[in-house]
């Protein structure tokens, strides 16, 4: 799928989210017109990286040791994306699943509306869950495979 015109596209920085499942998800987000900027979680460069890129959103591995550096990098600049950890109703539940089940923490700038945020989180969660279901089905199928049959 060809990315949409991205003149006004949201720019999302991805830090340390490198699993195969996450890659698929981010391809999907890209196809919806989001500009993705993947980076590793090298702490030393995070300060200049965040300031120079000025992203609208940041997806970060919830268990990355670089989380606290990221927190510092955005804390002094309120126009940079801020951690999204409290919300009303459905969004709160989605955030809990995103952090607890999927292992992704989210930072969003003022320009990202709660409705868009909800849609993005739900998309992330449903995608990661379908990957997990698929993985479980493949694992079950492999267990059921007779051992004396060679698989080529």
């Amino acid at each position: 799928m060809k990315p949409m015109d991205n003149t006004n596209a949201l720019r999302a920085l991805l830090i340390g989210v490198e699993s195969d499942g996450a890659k698929d998800l981010f391809q999907l987000l890209e196809s919806l017109g989001m500009v993705l900027i993947p980076r590793s979680a090298s702490e030393g460069s995070l300060y200049s990286l965040i300031e120079s890129l000025q992203p609208d959103l940041i997806f970060v591995d919830a268990n990355s040791p670089a989380r606290d550096t990221l927190e510092h990098a955005v804390s002094a600049h309120r126009d940079l994306p801020q951690p999204v950890v409290s919300a009303d109703g459905d969004l709160q539940i989605s955030l809990r699943r995103l952090a607890g089940d999927i292992g992704i923490s989210l930072y969003a700038g003022d320009g990202v509306t709660p409705a868009l945020l909800q849609a993005l989180i739900d998309l992330t969660i449903s995608h990661c869950h379908s990957i997990e279901v698929l993985r479980r089905e493949v694992a079950l199928a492999m267990m059921a495979q007779p051992r004396d049959v060679a698989v080529h």
């Binding site: 702490e43 030393g44 040791p65 989380r67 550096t69 990221l70 510092h72 409290s86 923490s105």
Partner: protein
């Protein structure tokens, strides 16, 4: 003695988060020595990789509670340098436990400026100030220091120490945030010139010949709170009996932990059970009251390097929460004026601690605030031996109800005292 029957616990399967530091010991001891189990709780401990993650997971209910830096729940309530979340704590897990380490290169420059810096944290920060000034005059890059979180006790301690020597931490140096286990590598690579962190990461640097300890948290403010057990306010309201059961278990674990004969056992437990990825010898040092400040030299006695129970350590003193709020104003993390005492009362819960202590017959202070900076070890020999010394490095006093007067005594400060007075009329 009045103890809540186990059947009334709202939740028995509890998940608590911790960071792999020496002072995660109260959680590890409560779990491994059966103090949680004794209260009818099935606690699983989740090793976390960042303070931000701990805050988020407690806020979102992924974790039931966690070890937090003593300043964190207060900062979360205020939305200081981060999101606004309602957290509460009825229990301080430990006092002291941090230190400031300088790289060999910077330490040598400091001691060359003033040889007393080797023995005196005050002389060290004053000498460092001269080294920083010379560095600026020679148009060299700023020195960089590491702390573990924007609203961390370590950030306030490093800033306080630098301020004592006349150094402005916002303009004269750079402060960066680095996770504790990565701190030593950053010092080794020369990326940073010093840091303030909890154990074992100061001992690791010194034993590795990479740096020197120039000040301990104890020397900056004797027996000040380091970590607390915090939960979301909503969780506390929904699970009052489970919350109390957790506090009872932690109270007993901390009393056990402060018996000198149990410290080495605890170091074994922390290293053998994978709570900390360091060898026994390194972790045992500070836990057993030994401080290795300089590579290759004899270690020193530091019996109060970690305090887990004595000196009323576990009591959540309201004035100590107020000190953290004062520091947030001092360093510009908070700007809008609030009632400092009211916020402290919403987050630190001395009354809850008192009720739980009474349930199990543990002695407890009858007051919720105390003056800091007025008790020397000599004075304590004559009266109040159950309290510890509480002096500040700069000799200042932090009187009960005089938060703003205390703030006013500091030259380096972003606090707008006039504005703050309007919100704190009765608290000088």
């Amino acid at each position: 003695m009045r103890v809540t029957p186990m059947t009334t616990l709202e939740k028995k399967d509890i998940k608590l988060g911790y960071i792999p530091l020496t002072d995660c010991a109260p959680f590890a001891v409560a779990k491994e020595k059966g103090f949680f189990e004794e209260q009818g709780l099935n606690v699983s401990l989740s090793r976390e990789h960042s303070w931000a993650s701990i805050r988020d997971k407690v806020g979102l209910g992924v974790l039931d509670g966690a070890q937090m830096l003593a300043s964190m729940p207060v900062a979360a309530r205020l939305g200081a340098a981060g999101p606004r979340l309602d957290m509460v704590t009825g229990f301080v897990l430990d006092l002291n436990g941090n230190a400031i380490t300088l790289s060999n290169r910077l330490y040598d420059a400091v001691v060359a400026t003033d040889p007393d810096a080797e023995f005196s944290p005050l002389a060290a920060t004053q000498a460092l100030n001269l080294v920083i000034k010379a560095n600026t005059q020679n148009k060299r890059p700023k020195f960089r220091f590491g702390v573990v979180f924007p609203v961390s006790t370590q950030n306030y301690e490093l800033r306080y120490w630098l301020g004592c020597g006349g150094t402005n931490p916002d303009t004269d140096i750079d402060i960066v945030v680095i996770s504790p286990p990565d701190m030593v590598d950053h010092l080794k690579s020369g990326d940073i010139d010093g840091y303030c962190v909890g154990e074992p990461w100061n001992t690791v640097a010194v034993l590795g010949g990479l740096g020197h300890v120039v000040a301990t948290k104890y020397e900056l403010w004797n027996n000040s709170p380091e970590k607390v057990f915090a939960v979301a306010k909503g969780w506390a309201e929904k699970h009052p009996h489970s919350h109390r059961a957790l506090l009872r278990a932690l109270m007993k674990a901390c009393a056990w932990l402060d018996q000198p004969e149990n410290r080495l056992v605890t170091a074994e437990l922390l290293t053998a059970h994978g709570y900390i990825d360091q060898d026994l010898e390194t972790v045992a040092m500070s836990l057993c009251g030994i401080s290795q400040r300089h590579p290759g030299r004899a270690p020193e006695d530091a019996p109060d390097f970690h305090v887990f129970n004595r000196y009323c350590a576990n009591f959540p003193w309201l004035n100590q929460a107020e000190w953290f709020i004062a520091e947030m104003y001092r360093w510009g993390q908070l700007k809008n004026p609030v009632s400092i005492s009211a916020i402290a009362e919403q987050v630190y819960l001395p009354e809850l601690y008192r009720e739980v202590a009474n349930e199990i017959g543990v002695p407890c202070p009858a007051i919720n605030r105390k003056t800091e900076g007025n008790l020397t070890p000599q004075m304590l020999q004559n009266f109040a031996p159950h309290m510890g010394p509480n002096q500040f490095l700069d000799g200042k006093r932090f009187d009960v109800g005089k938060v703003l007067s205390y703030l006013e005594q500091h030259d380096l400060s972003h606090a707008n005292i006039v504005e703050l007075r309007q919100s704190n009329e009765t608290h000088g």
